[in-house]
């Protein structure tokens, strides 16, 4: 059983790394990029019986800092 967690900086939190990527893309001539946000993907291998609620707890306690980050979970 697997879960994929996406962690992104919340809207309204400046993402200087995303901004730097946007500049670099512009410098390469990709002039249609209006914004870049950079985040993290965390893949979890889970034992049978693990639930989305377990992963939510992991996100709240460790995987995301909810002061600055939001997260979403895909169970597969």
């Amino acid at each position: 059983m697997k879960a994929r967690v996406h962690v992104m900086l919340k809207n309204g939190v400046l993402d200087p790394q995303g901004e730097a990527v946007r500049h670099a893309l512009g410098a390469l001539g990709f002039d249609k990029v209006e914004g870049v946000r950079q985040g993290k993907v965390i893949d979890l291998d889970l034992a049978e019986g693990a639930t989305e609620a377990d992963v939510t707890e992991m996100c709240e306690k460790l995987l995301a800092n909810t002061v600055i980050e939001s997260y979403s979970i895909e169970m597969a």
Partner: protein, 223 residues
């Protein structure tokens, strides 16, 4: 004798500097390992040092905040104990929830290592009573993720409660409201990105941090 404990994580690199600064101010210092689950008996103040605890994996301070010793530090502060978190130590204190907000990547994306001018924003704490409000002190910074962030409501609360200890005279890293260091609600925990322990000896090229450690020793000596 006044007792300080300095926490050592894998990747801490300012632990001995912090210990020396406490010692020079008259503290008896013990080093505590991250796997310890209790602080030594009778500790007055805990120092959480700078460095790269657990390699900054996941987020700066995130893994350290879950270590056994950090749970003991949380308990210590809940009992009204004092703590000083510097640089990575500040990041760890925010990750534990002892202090509000978070530290983001510097706005300019670069690691910055130089002495900056800080403005003392409050003298109403054990850490800052050796200064006067408005004093400018030169304290080194050395960080990649020192961009303090908190939502507008939290920043207003910090301002209203006079909990901003230091601001940058010239903001080097994008921190909201130029914040360089903040206090807990009971004013007994200070987290700051600049390194007062690196400005606490003539050999450092500056001694503007000395007043913090002296003021702390004054508090405990009279306690």
């Amino acid at each position: 004798m006044m007792k300080a404990a300095v926490v050592v994580f894998p990747g801490s690199n300012c632990d001995r500097d912090l210990a020396v600064a406490f010692e020079q101010a008259g503290f008896e210092v013990s080093m505590v390992w991250h796997k310890d689950s209790a602080l030594p008996e009778g500790v007055d103040i805990v120092g959480v040092p700078g460095g790269f605890s657990y390699g900054d994996y996941l987020r700066c301070g995130a893994i350290a905040a879950q270590s056994p010793i950090c749970q003991a530090v949380v308990e210590h502060t809940k009992r009204g104990g004092y703590a000083l978190g510097v640089c990575n130590g500040f990041q760890i204190l925010t990750e534990t929830g002892i202090l509000p907000g978070a530290l983001l990547r510097n706005a300019g994306l670069k690691y910055i290592c130089r002495t900056v001018d800080l403005k003392v924003a409050t003298a109403d704490s054990a850490f800052t009573q050796g200064y006067s409000v408005g004093d400018e002190i030169g304290i080194p910074i050395a960080h990649h993720d020192g961009n303090y962030f908190a939502d507008a409501e939290t920043v207003k609360m910090l301002q209203d409660q006079d909990r901003i200890a230091f601001t940058y005279a010239e903001n080097p890293n994008g921190s909201v409201a130029d914040i360089a260091g903040i206090l807990s609600e009971n004013r007994r925990v200070l987290g700051m990105m600049p390194h007062p322990e690196r400005a606490a000896d003539d050999g450092h090229g500056g001694t503007d941090g000395t007043a913090m450690f002296r003021a702390l020793s004054g508090i405990f000596a009279n306690a």
